[in-house]
């Protein structure tokens, strides 16, 4: 996972609430067994004309198709972004498309977690702050935003300044590009002890057969 500290970029405004993961990446692309190569499928349907003679052609009105927003590394959107399905493909597609951060008033829980595992910064600002940034980026595609993860601030080139909250541990992992499994395995001894006792609770086992003894060989 790529570590990020400070991100300065133009932004792509997507002023809609409740954008679900079916929109972020439609189901037909979930059949792939790879972890990469999802960039072209991001907002697949919204990027294309849906009806009429030009059906299937790029939709020039959609923000990600506009040449002036091409290099945006920040996506700005409204509340409850990433609701719906747990597909991590949504985070992969956003990240592989070139975004490094999403700014919104709120995010759905599973998406929030998936994004963190893929090094995406999710900055939660107030509704008003988000509206300000949305308006500025819509009016001026060169509008530049700086997200400082260490300071937990979002600033822009027009004097905007806001603070965002982030769980300290999530911040630490993002700043250092840490792998979760490795982090958990720091508690391997506690896990072995816990699991040994817990296996006696057969009423919490999926199957009645005796469990195989496990130890934390995974490093």
């Amino acid at each position: 996972m790529e570590a990020i500290r400070i991100l300065t970029s133009t932004a792509a405004p997507l002023p809609l609430p409740n954008i679900d993961t079916d929109q972020i990446i439609p189901k037909q692309f979930l059949k792939r067994i790879e972890r990469t190569g999802y960039e072209d499928f991001l907002f697949y349907d919204w990027r294309r004309i849906q009806s009429g003679p030009n059906v299937g052609q790029p939709n020039p009105d959609f923000v990600l198709n506009k040449p002036e927003h091409q290099n945006a590394k920040i996506l700005i959107t409204e509340k409850n972004f990433g609701c719906g399905s747990s597909r991590e493909h949504a985070a992969w597609a956003i990240q592989q498309f070139g975004f490094r951060a999403v700014i919104a008033p709120s995010f759905a829980d599973i998406f929030f977690s998936n994004a963190g595992k893929n090094g995406l910064i999710l900055a939660r600002l107030t509704e008003d702050e988000v509206q300000t940034l949305l308006a500025r980026s819509s009016a001026n595609p060169k509008h530049t935003i700086t997200i400082d993860l260490e300071q937990q601030t979002v600033k822009d080139d027009q004097g905007f300044q806001a603070h965002f909250d982030i769980d300290p541990f999530r911040k630490y992992c993002l700043l250092n590009g840490l792998d979760d499994i490795g982090l958990t395995l720091r508690y391997a001894a506690a896990l072995d002890t816990y699991e040994h006792k817990h296996d006696a609770a057969f009423w919490l086992a999926p199957k009645p057969d005796a469990p195989a003894t496990a130890t934390s060989e995974n490093r």
């Binding site: 409740n18 747990s86 979760d180 506690a190 609770a201 009423w203 009645p208 195989a212 496990a214």
Partner: protein, 493 residues
């Protein structure tokens, strides 16, 4: 087994959480033990690859159960054994070989226990009260109906569970929704949960684990409770839970993976302790009176855009906030609906009875009871996709398949099917579908498709009349002409 107890009354969620704490490092998420991981073909291949790449082992093969559901064709047994779509076939094969390589019990396409992953956990008796259950699928919340803490995770977390049998989790808040009283005629579990989502919004429970309680819930069957917990995610909840009781134990007793004999009694004694103590405090609480509920139907492109079947299509002005106003306007356009038309006047082209929300035997019985003696409208194509092999077999033993076929429904093989349309079962652009599934997002059932979520009985009624229909007026009166679909005004077709 000794578990640390805090003083004072605890909620069901807190009890289950506390019994699964492996480590509570300061300033970091709690490490929670995972009792059961359910695996399906779509969200697992990258996780297995991750294990291989890192040279890690699957820590506890006995705590994983796998099946194929999302991708499998539902047309015929033959189509399932040799999947024509090469990309789907490759994904199904990847799961097959991954399960063989890592030693995971796998229920393949034609296995008698195959089905939608959230159907087979309970059917096998693998899902039990007090467990922690995860799956790379948001509707894992279904298993909470047994008093388990069950939630959906992403693929990185799937890999984490495979390697460590744990997950780092920050503790969610608690939200109790009490539903009290007798359900009015025609109101089902689906209507309860749709009403809740409509009330609190699709992010109304974000950050919370919801416990459903109250006399209405206690009176529901396990299948009905699963329908409610299933759609907790549609309100943004991390999980939904219902405390186990005699109904739960009766459902589980004798199932393949349930404890037997003396072990059963011991298990039940433990499970009985898993209820919210009197006086336990929740971060949020809400009470709904069942008498206020009516059969519900969604009109828009989010499960929160829902109304009573006897109401009319709202306008953007009815939205609660400026942000919602924009989504309402967009949804009305996508759904091609004019504000003010009666919900019952909306004509449908397709009917889908299926999904992990409503494809259990009681759902099929309810739908069959409605269609018995009627025929699907000439303008409608209707299908029933049982949620699992067991449900299919049971329905066939009861002759329900014959009722559906005689009425003009397609009777399919089990799987997710048109709930998300990853297999060939999809809506065509512009087609309108009455669906018993859980999501009505744009394009969910096929690009350009329009979904109305409702209960199995109302889906069945819509198939017969050709339009959304208030089940409380069923059967239609003699002089009504059910084969003549009522065309919606405002170009709703």
């Amino acid at each position: 087994m000794s578990h640390p107890q805090t003083l004072g009354p605890q909620t069901l969620f807190e009890k289950v959480w506390q019994q699964h704490v492996v480590a509570e490092p300061t300033g970091e998420p709690t490490i929670i033990y995972v009792d059961l991981h359910l695996v399906h073909e779509v969200t697992s291949p990258q996780a297995f690859d991750g294990l291989r790449l890192a040279g890690r082992k699957l820590r506890r093969p006995d705590r994983h159960i796998a099946t194929v559901d999302h991708n499998v064709p539902t047309t015929s047994a033959q189509d399932r054994l040799v999947i024509a779509d090469q990309i789907s076939a490759r994904q199904v094969n990847a799961l097959r070989s991954n399960c063989a390589e890592f030693g995971i019990e796998f229920f393949d396409v034609q296995d008698a226990a195959q089905g939608i992953v959230h159907m087979i956990g309970p059917e096998l008796g693998a899902t039990k009260p007090g467990m922690t259950i995860v799956c790379g699928d948001s509707h894992t919340s279904t298993h909470g109906a047994f008093g388990a803490l069950a939630f959906g995770i992403g693929t990185s977390e799937v890999e984490h569970v495979m390697a460590t049998q744990t997950l780092p989790q920050s503790k969610p808040k608690t939200f109790r929704i009490n539903i009290e009283g007798k359900l009015p005629h025609g109101v089902t579990a689906k209507d309860i949960i749709l009403d809740i989502i409509g009330r609190i919004g699709t992010d109304g429970a974000t950050g919370y684990v919801v416990e459903y309680a109250g006399s209405t819930i206690r009176g529901l069957s396990m299948e009905e409770r699963m329908t409610i917990c299933n759609m907790s995610i549609e309100a943004g909840a991390r999980a939904g839970m219902i405390a186990a009781d005699e109904t739960t134990f009766a459902y589980l007793k004798g199932r393949q993976f349930a404890p037997q004999g003396a072990a059963w009694d011991e298990a039940v004694a433990h499970w009985r302790t898993l209820r919210s103590d009197d006086g336990a405090l929740f971060d949020r609480e809400m009470t709904i009176h069942a008498a206020e509920l009516a059969p519900s139907v969604t009109w828009g492109t989010s499960p929160g855009m829902v109304t009573r079947v006897d109401a009319t299509v709202p306008s953007a002005d009815d939205a609660r906030s400026e942000a919602d106003r924009k989504s309402y306007a967009r949804a009305l356009e996508y759904m091609d609906l004019t504000p003010g038309i009666r919900i019952e006047d909306i004509a449908v082209d397709r009917v889908f009875i299926g999904s992990c929300t409503n494809a259990r035997i009681s759902d099929l019985r309810a739908a069959a009871a409605v269609v018995q003696g009627h025929h699907v409208a000439a303008t409608v194509r209707a299908m029933v996709v049982p949620g699992s092999q067991r449900v299919k077999k049971q329905a066939e033993a009861e002759g329900l398949d014959q009722v559906f076929r005689a009425a003009g429904f397609e009777w399919r093989e089990p799987g997710c099917s048109m709930c998300l349309g990853m297999n060939p079962d999809i809506l065509q652009p512009g087609e309108r579908c009455a669906s018993t599934s859980n999501r009505n997002f744009e394009g969910r059932q096929g690009r350009g498709g329009r979904t109305h979520l409702l209960s199995p009985a109302m889906a069945a009624a819509a198939a017969v009349t050709g339009h959304l229909t208030d089940i409380r007026k069923w059967p239609p009166t003699e002089n009504a002409a059910p084969e003549e679909p009522v065309l919606a005004q405002g170009g709703a077709r």
